[in-house]
Assembly symmetry: C2
Homo-oligomer: 380 residues x 2
């Protein structure tokens, strides 16, 4: 059975002070339906990816809630996996099609973060970590800083090389009219930005964002002249805490999920043309580039610094949307936005940031510090 | 493909002050594995039903978290649908088997509620409702009281007849060593208990509870001498808010999901021998009895009062576990506990509360005031 992407849409990502979660969802849902040429009554079920609505807004029951924005009361599931909530919602939606239960379902990723104070957001995001990490007072910048320290030491990588990840992603973001940041930055800008958790600086970190993205998937054939299929949807987990891992410089969940995905599709990493990577911090993309097999161990940051993943220069283009860093990171939406972005490239509809000739795309969505990884492969 | 229940387990439900959520989960997981004759490494994936860990404990990423208690890092999904989180987690788990993705998965329902203050619990549970309901200051006892007022007026039902629901469920709970309340009560006890939201009194309301339940389901055949299968798993949604509904005396989500389930299995409501009902309030069971087709409209409470759903007296036995009222209602666990209970009856292992000759069982798990309903049918 083929899983067809019939339609996709995303809101602008950013600090959308005037927009409610319901309105974000509505815009994404209506956009995806329109792109799919479908009406609400054509949708058999809804899957929602969201992490923080309960913690920030005391709102649960999100399946039923967002059915109201879809406009029909269909079976609906809210799926949570911290920052991989969007990807995991899609995974469960795909299962429902493969199970033969539905023909066409809509997957919504949505997050509203800027209505809460910075302290609330910092505390809320630590829900993705463990009791021990919270009790130790560590935050996610701190956790990823530990990974960056280990990585730089183990592979003799400089802060400037890590900074190149953000430089690339801001360049890509400058080409994306949905991106939160569309300003080109330099390595010097990153190096001069305020230290958050040594060696990570402000411009090594993805922002706090609002946004929603949606995708209509179906067992029906797409009417688009360049149809796109999801050919692999793989999930792997790891310990919740970083301190329980054998290595700080690889995420085994990513290695296992991506290897399973490559095997499923029958390709090697080198077969991927374009990938959306979960770059919550610059170090995360450097390590992911290696865990996904795009670079050799220790060479991820260096390859990025050398332009090997940049639009117009590289062979495997990573984060053409601008990634979490420049496009923004409304956590529940991110995994679905990645699908929206890759679909645009495989359709040849990505405009100024089009990866030419892209035929195979990958999305890499991670929850916590690698406690869960969700990998999707999309093909024409 | 047949969905086999290989093993089930539940912790005691109650005010388990000394037990952490992780420990609750561990006990339920290990119990279900033992009952199934399986080891952790035999489990291909984990599904977790939970509503409140984020809101009460700032803990998300529950799939990965509870993999640590399972002891293996397998693909894991946290599914939330307010008080129907357990049932909906099972539904998504069943999809994953039907999709051919896994052979054997474990579904965990878990909730820890007593670590929070009463005010926190009252506010937290309103996460299952809508913004408008929260802003109006209404709580779930208030919402169900509105339904009770409408029901009593429409069908000329007395408070004493509603009270009979709790009397039956406390009698059943007295036979269940996992139940939070094992004390037999009378209609007079209910009538004398403190008014919560007119006409609902304390003993019309399910308690605040801690607990965890788990079930191992598989495409493999069970080795139990009386194997149990899940033959239908149906979900329907409705508006989040009660005020958006046409009627206060029926939950259309329950009617639609149960009709779909009966159709799937090829039975009528009268074919059901035993059912676990989502009796968050006495009125909820009265209405559910009618929505499920066990009683005629307006006769649910009267039928219960007349003993037609009581062990040893009735033809269709409802809530042999004691239901949410007497067995307890740790919200994410409830939908799985219902499966555990029905499985015991179909195996003939329910001891003093055994429903004799039970061959077809049903579970009815509801989120919010009927915003979502999840119906499962189990058969030998």
């Amino acid at each position: 059975m083929k899983i067809n992407i019939l339609g996709t849409a995303t809101t602008e990502f950013g600090e959308l002070w005037k927009t409610s979660p319901r309105e974000l969802a509505r815009v994404a849902i209506q956009g995806a339906l329109k792109d799919a040429g479908k009406r609400p009554k054509d949708i058999d079920a809804l899957f929602v990816g969201n992490m923080l609505a309960g913690i920030f807004g005391n709102q649960a029951n999100l399946g039923s809630l967002f059915c109201e924005e879809l406009g029909v009361n269909v079976p609906a599931s809210h799926v949570e996996a911290a920052c991989a909530s969007g990807g995991l919602a899609l995974h469960n939606a795909i299962n429902s099609l493969l199970a033969g239960r539905y023909n066409t379902v809509l997957v919504l990723g949505v997050e509203k973060m800027t209505d809460s104070s910075q302290d609330e957001v910092t505390a809320g995001l630590m829900a993705a970590g463990s009791d021990e990490e919270r009790q130790a007072g560590v935050t996610f910048p701190g956790i990823y800083a530990l990974m960056a320290q280990a990585y730089m030491s183990e592979y003799n990588v400089t802060e400037e090389e890590l900074a190149a990840v953000s430089v690339k992603n801001h360049f890509h973001g400058s080409l994306n009219d949905k991106a939160q940041f569309r300003r080109i930055i330099t390595v010097e800008d990153v190096m001069r930005s305020g230290k958050i958790a040594d060696p990570l600086k402000l411009l090594d970190c993805s922002p706090i964002s609002d946004g929603a993205s949606a995708v209509v998937i179906s067992t029906e054939t797409s009417k688009n002249s360049k149809p796109v299929f999801i050919t692999a949807s793989e999930v792997a987990t790891d310990t919740l805490s970083l301190h329980d891992r054998q290595s700080f410089t690889t995420l085994s969940s990513v290695v296992r999920a991506s290897q399973a995905a490559y095997k499923k599709v029958g390709i090697k990493a080198s077969g991927v043309d374009v990938a959306e990577i979960h770059d919550c911090f610059s170090i995360a993309e450097a390590i992911a580039t290696e865990d996904l097999g795009f670079s050799k161990r220790g060479e991820g940051a260096k390859d990025i610094a050398n332009g090997r993943m940049t639009i117009g220069k590289g062979k495997i283009i990573t984060n053409p949307s601008g990634g979490l860093k420049a496009c923004g990171h409304p956590v529940g939406a991110t995994g679905i936005k990645q699908i929206v972005e890759i679909t645009q490239h495989l359709r040849g509809e990505a405009g100024a940031r089009q990866v030419r000739g892209a035929k195979i795309g990958l999305t890499h969505n991670v929850g916590g510090s690698g406690a869960i990884a969700v990998i999707h492969i999309l093909q024409n």
